[in-house]
């Protein structure tokens, strides 16, 4: 059974990047284009891990994370936040929203992959 990672990201370039990256190690990728869709997909599909972009229009990553973590069915899913790290309060906000880890853009795909694998393997 392949691991499944949900990517909640509004930019197609980034989604493709992660899709290709995950695909290279046999991880299936689910995609959502915004926070709202992401939350619904998370409830429905219950992926093994979520990559959450923070800066999204309408519903941002913090709010989507809060909603996913609030639901008992999905609260155990590890969420890695992907932020642009603009202001110094970002790390604190990310943790406060309930994210398990975070990575700042622009990231090295290798580094991201290592982090994803670490969190996926934690469950075993």
């Amino acid at each position: 059974m392949n691991k499944r990672v949900l990517v909640i990201e509004d930019q197609e370039d980034n989604r493709r990047l992660i899709r290709d990256l995950m695909g290279s190690v046999g991880i299936d990728v689910l995609e959502a284009h915004d926070g709202q869709a992401g939350v619904e997909t998370a409830f429905r599909e219950k992926p093994d891990l979520i990559l959450m972009d923070i800066q999204m229009p309408r519903m941002d990553g913090y709010e989507a994370t809060r909603q996913i973590k609030a639901n008992p069915d999905s609260t155990a899913i590890p969420i890695i936040a992907v932020t642009s790290y603009a202001l110094s309060g970002d790390e604190a906000k990310v943790r406060a929203a309930g994210c398990d880890d975070y990575i700042t853009k622009p990231y090295s795909p290798r580094v991201l992959l290592a982090m994803v694998c670490k969190h996926l393997n934690k469950g075993e």
């Binding site: 370039d13 290709d20 642009s84 603009a86 202001l87 853009k105 622009p106 990231y107 795909p109």
Partner: protein, 567 residues
């Protein structure tokens, strides 16, 4: 009573009715101190409000109050003087009465002597011992009576205000005495002529009753005088009583009015001052909605109005500032996101291609990919520098203070630049003190500074070595980076820490970089409360150094722009 309006930092609140006033001062209302204490504790706004609403300057009100009190005192004084004057007048009258009484007493003494002399003559005759001399004596005595009468007349004339009745009585007395004298002289002649018996008969029959008549007149006069004196005494008492009552009453009224006036004026001044002070305190605490209402229509009313206006203006200005700040941080966040997102694609996809995700890239492409990657990373470094400087300029730069180990920071930087140094065949030496204490500060930013300095050293040194040392002493971490490069001139040493200045534009432009690095490093170090410097000699190389407190204060994130401008 001392009122203090103190300086404090102003808080934030948006409102259109507040005011701004920043003063420091001590106002002593020493003149009315006890009254101010009273004003604080008694209500009575029904007294002070009408006074406050008077449309007159405070100085005028105080002057009028003072003059009123003075006037009351003057009236009191005048009444007192009046009473004294009356008392004096009464005393004078009593003295006059006394003099008259004395005269009449004198008169009575004479009459008594006369009576006894005549009695002496009478008994002397019976015994046969009386002589001319003895008979003359009473007559001479009655002549004395006339003199005494003259004295009374004189007193009468001097005191023309004597009532007519008394004047008549004195006339009566004079008549009686004159009549007695006539009879007395007749008695003497009769006696001298040898008609002793007839003379004595005259004495018994005429003189005695006439003496009685004179005495009767005298008695009338003196008892009238007595009555007059008693009347005067009782009037005097009455007048004194009345005087005393009026004076006491007026004193109470005067004192009461003065106190009331004082209280009214002072509370009409103190109340608004207290209200204004409270209002200013609220403004200082950041509450611009302070509800300041004073009844006064004098200077204090104007002051209150000013305070209201200024609070409103401040609230407005601060609101705008707050909005501008919000706008700025939003802008920075947006800028950061917009710039970093494309970099993610450029660098990310390049790495994926290099890692063979899309299949092994042909040999020929590897080089080109490498350049794309290197330039992308370069661009990212420049973007980061620009974003950092923007944050600093906007006052939005904050340190993330936490514990860190300086040796780890330096070691990690060394790890990063060693490959680059090796490429240029530069020797890297390090001298890191063992067992350095744990520090507090922003490790990421400090690493940025060390990387910047060491990176520069490697970049601008073509041959030789780069040495890094780190030690902890006197509560400071000191990090020194020495390189055997071309050195930096005195003039350039001054400017390299400023934005966009590189030591020598021509030769170093090839090395890349915006020239922002040292400027940002300087800010980072200074935000930790430390300092950064360079020692260099042309031709022999340079040593860059910085020191930061081992325990950098969490408060040290203040805006360093001011310091920059004063240097």
């Amino acid at each position: 009573m001392i009122f203090e309006i103190t300086e404090t930092e102003l808080g934030l609140h948006l409102n259109d009715r507040a005011g701004f006033l920043r003063t420091s001062g001590r106002y002593e209302l020493a003149v009315l101190s006890p009254l101010t204490a009273l004003a604080k504790h008694l209500p009575g706004t029904w007294l002070s409000d009408p006074m406050a609403r008077l449309h007159a300057r405070i100085g005028t009100k105080l002057l009028v109050a003072f003059l009123s009190v003075t006037l009351l005192m003057l009236i009191l004084g005048a009444l007192g003087l009046g009473a004294l004057f009356d008392a004096n007048e009464r005393t004078k009258r009593i003295i006059v009465l006394q003099k008259r009484s004395d005269s009449y007493q004198q008169f009575q003494v004479i009459m008594f002597d006369l009576d006894s002399l005549y009695a002496h003559v009478f008994t002397g005759h019976r015994e046969g011992t009386v002589n001319i001399g003895g008979a003359s004596a009473p007559v001479e005595k009655s002549e004395d009576m006339m003199d005494a009468l003259g004295g009374v007349r004189r007193i009468m004339r001097r005191n023309a205000d004597l009532i007519a009745a008394e004047s008549n009585r004195i006339d009566g007395l004079v008549l009686a005495v004159t009549d007695l004298n006539k009879t007395a002289r007749l008695f003497r002649r009769t006696f001298e002529d040898g008609n002793r018996d007839a003379a004595l008969e005259m004495l018994r029959r005429d003189i005695s009753p006439k003496i009685g008549a004179v005495n009767a007149e005298l008695h009338t006069i003196t008892s009238a005088l007595g009555t007059e004196m008693r009347e005067l005494a009782s009037i005097s008492d009455g007048e004194y009583e009345a005087s005393r009552r009026w004076l006491t009453l007026f004193s109470f009224v005067a004192v009461g009015s003065a106190l009331l006036l004082g209280y009214t004026i002072s509370s009409s001044i103190i109340r608004p001052v207290q209200k204004i002070r409270t209002s200013l305190r609220e403004v200082a605490d950041g509450n611009f909605e302070t509800d300041l209402k004073v009844e006064n229509r004098d200077e204090l009313g104007e002051l209150a109005q000013s305070v209201r206006t200024m609070a409103a203006k401040l609230g407005q200005a601060y609101g705008e500032l707050e909005a501008a700040n919000q706008h700025k941080s939003q802008l920075l966040a947006n800028m950061s996101h917009e710039l970093r997102t494309p970099m993610n694609s450029i660098l990310g996809y390049t790495e994926l291609i290099q890692d063979g995700i899309y299949g092994e890239p042909p040999e020929k492409i590897a080089d080109a990919l490498g350049r794309i990657d290197a330039n992308g990373k370069n661009l990212l470094a420049l973007i980061n520098d620009v974003l950092d400087i923007s944050k600093i300029e906007a006052g939005q730069m904050e340190l993330q203070i936490d514990t860190y180990k300086m040796d780890d920071v330096v070691s990690s930087v060394l790890g990063t630049i060693e490959p680059l140094a090796a490429e240029k065949s530069l020797t890297v030496k390090s001298d890191i003190q063992e067992r350095m204490p744990t520090g507090t500060g922003d490790a990421a930013r400090l690493r940025q500074v060390v990387l910047n300095i060491v990176g520069n050293a490697v970049k601008f040194t073509q041959q030789g070595s780069v040495s890094i040392s780190a030690k902890a002493e006197n509560g400071q971490f000191t990090v020194l980076v020495t390189e055997t490069g071309a050195g930096i001139s005195e003039a350039d040493q001054m400017s390299i820490f400023h934005e966009f200045q590189q030591a020598d534009n021509t030769s170093t432009r090839a090395s890349g970089g915006t020239g922002l690095g040292l400027s940002i490093s300087k800010r980072m170090i200074e935000m930790h409360g430390g300092r950064i410097w360079v020692d260099s000699n042309l031709g022999t190389g340079s040593t860059f150094g910085f020191e930061v407190p081992i325990l950098a204060d969490a408060e040290v994130h203040a805006d360093t722009r001011v310091r920059e401008e004063t240097e």
